[in-house]
Symmetry: C2
Subunit: 463 residues, 2 copies
């Protein structure tokens, strides 16, 4: 019998507790590949909980890639999963079981064209007439700002609130003093880079362009980590690099969840080479049905630095994020910040504190998730006849594989209709993948329909 | 007769117009060293203005080091001024004729000691009960945030307001589209560094520690530019560097105004070597009586990048500044910012817009200047018997030269009384200058008195 014990007095829900314990047994090697897990009925009886608890936990582990379900045979510890792209063929993915969301890809600033941008970084948010939003800024107007420069780690009360939220929504338990409030994800990366030894940084390809550009702006080379190939199949994935930047919860822009085998291979490679793993957890809130996949950092606090952001859940231009770095790096970053005055703006920190404290952020995330869950299948229904979905259907964008000429034709048709859609090739450095990255957060329902009509009419007319 | 013409319909005051035209004649070589300027009576008659206009203009040029007054003989184009430190012996300086202010020196964040910090970066500001401040954030609460990420140059209306203020207070005429809103001075530097060729950056020594640390964090070496030696006497000041970071309006932390000869030598060296001059104009607002010295950038837009900040005039933790870069760099910075999402927080930009629009900032600067003008002589009266003033008496701090053991003893006495004062040696890299840097912006009058009493009693007891 497995050493599992659920604690009804703990704050973590029972399915999350169980999933976490099974995950730890796999990581520790107690459970091995192809081991069969107990049936939900048997385990429910053993643990004295309802079958629903077990089923939810297994569903979670399945979504994360730690286990696989074989029809009629039960649930097994997963074999190293196949290519990441292949994961989208898992039938569960098409039910929206996986997660994801969008982020700015670099071309989202206003253009002279006046086109609406179906980008990956504009969340569904309308804060203006929201009483909670107004209250947050009213509090800023009357709160006492710190005298002079402030704590280089960020507003203490905000770090407490962020720690609480990380524990509740990401199962990540950190002390508020281990958190550094940043001005967003790329700012977190900027804080880390000066503390790393000389050398290049690996970034997923296709991947987050802002990260690559930030690495280059610090005079470092960017190495390509193929995002669509299982990590164990990559030759010496971290050879010669001082860090690797990954988006395990929702690969940007392909959308896959990093499979368990890749997570373990990545940490093993980090241990072997001494490279830092930088986990960009930008949109883990936006799963449609199952709980978010646990953060990589919760498997290894000494080799993984964790980056989060309020850009997708509150407002991209709030410019607030958070960084949990390994202790040695944390101390160096705080010391340097004290000297360089590169903290996040106090008014924005103070406003986010109110939004967290009042439950506004939770409410906002729930509302946005509902909108995305409704829009994602509409996008899929329109594009699936013409293109292959690159990742699970989730978050505030989806990525569709197409030959480049077709993608360009569709993009041009959208432009003619007044919409800007990103080509997948614009995220690639050496990856040959092509297609379209279609964001659906920052437009109205009617606009989305018009944009989809333009795309499908161009794709339907393909030669 | 000199080619001078004053325009009564222009927005610039007549003395500022005249000072600017004389300055241009010196830069152009029309007026040369030791040339005598017309008497104020004669020039007033020529130009059809009152003598007061001429006298104000000459006073301004004198404060800037472009001209010198010889008793009974008149006003002459200045010989290359002597060592910067020597300028503080000009009797005008002791009347508070020059300008300056403080800035954070790196140790201003809260410490566990609970000591009040007499630092250079904490301005006199109490925004909490200010109706204008509250209005600014109320407007933030109801304004429409930009959809997605915003203009990488910053909020257009804010750039218009900043351009208006630069023209009015700094005589600097730029198009709003030439401005990039930053998250503060060091952020402006961070935007510039990736656009420079490989190589070290020269920074004044003693100098602004945050700038040196920022340069190092981008993997570049820092070269020392002696701050207390006239630039023409420095051997190849810009040899081998790609940029030089200077604080011409108020050298940080020595306080001198960069003399005219140094300004010209610096620009000539920049022209010869191709190095970029980075002008940190952090506190030009805080002169006590004469108008601020014009910015270096107004002499050469192609070789000088200009950095300004709201840290001293509004709040250090607002994290808003501005950058005017030479056109080629400006375009590269905007393109990179579009990719890296490193803009300033929208709420803070929007609040600053209101503060500028409503005249709040002007009022705040006037009020702070009055407080500093009252406190600076009190600090001087206390410390002058024991130490030499390193620069003009101005701004929100003053710097006092002392042997290191005396400075350390005084610092320790202040600590025992509950105050933290910075050692001048902490700003030095290879400079042998020692003493105390005494900020007086961030404390109450009673606290300042107690801190001064602690310092003077230790200094009075010196062996």
């Amino acid at each position: 019998m497995l050493p599992l014990l659920l604690d009804r007095t703990a704050t973590a829900p029972l399915p999350a507790q169980l999933a976490g314990q099974v995950r730890n047994l796999i990581v520790a090697g107690t459970l091995r590949r192809d081991d069969r897990l107990p049936s939900s009925r048997a385990l429910a009886a053993d643990l004295g909980v309802s079958r629903a608890v077990i089923e939810q936990a297994y569903e979670q582990l399945l979504a994360e890639g730690w286990v696989s379900a074989r029809r009629g045979a039960g649930t097994f510890v997963a074999a190293p999963p196949g290519p990441g792209l292949g994961r989208s063929t898992d039938h569960r993915a098409h039910r929206g079981a996986q997660h994801g969301a969008g982020r700015a890809a670099g071309s989202t600033a206003p253009t002279a064209t006046g086109r609406r941008h179906l980008d990956t970084g504009t969340p569904w948010v309308d804060v203006r007439h929201d009483p909670g939003w107004r209250r947050a800024w009213r509090e800023v107007s009357t709160a006492a700002p710190p005298p002079g420069y402030d704590d280089p780690r960020g507003l203490p009360a905000l770090r407490v609130a962020i720690a609480e939220r990380l524990a509740r929504t990401r199962g990540l338990r950190v002390d508020p003093d281990e958190i550094v409030v940043t001005a967003g994800t790329t700012d977190g990366l900027r804080q880390l880079l000066p503390e790393l030894p000389t050398g290049p940084v690996a970034i997923e390809d296709p991947g987050y362009r802002a990260a690559a550009e930030t690495v280059r702006s610090h005079g470092r080379e960017v190495h390509d980590l193929p995002a669509a190939v299982p990590l164990p199949a990559v030759d010496g994935p971290l050879d010669g690099v001082v860090a690797v930047y990954v988006t395990p919860a929702h690969q940007h822009p392909l959308g896959r969840v990093m499979p368990a085998a890749d997570r373990l291979a990545l940490l093993a490679a980090a241990e072997r080479t001494g490279a830092l793993v930088i986990e960009d957890d930008y949109d883990s809130e936006f799963r449609y049905d199952v709980a978010p996949v646990p953060a990589l950092v919760s498997l290894d606090r000494t080799r993984v630095a964790y980056l989060g952001t309020a850009a997708k859940s509150v407002l991209p231009t709030l410019r607030i994020g958070w960084l949990v770095a390994p202790p040695r790096l944390h101390e160096a970053i705080v010391a340097r910040r004290l000297l360089t005055h590169t903290g996040a703006a106090w008014p924005c920190q103070r406003a986010l504190l109110t939004l967290l404290r009042d439950g506004w952020l939770d409410k906002q995330v729930r509302a946005a998730r509902k909108v995305y869950a409704e829009r994602a299948p509409r996008v899929a229904a329109a594009l699936a006849p013409y293109a292959d979905l690159a990742g699970p259907l989730a978050g505030m964008y989806s990525t569709w594989l197409l030959p480049e000429p077709d993608a360009v034709r569709a993009r041009d048709a959208a432009r003619a209709a007044g919409f800007e859609v990103n080509l997948l090739s614009s995220y690639a450095r050496s990856s040959p993948l092509t297609g379209l990255v279609v964001g659906f957060g920052g437009v109205s329902d009617a606009e989305l329909d018009r944009a989809l009509a333009a795309l499908t009419s161009a794709l339907g007319a393909r030669a």
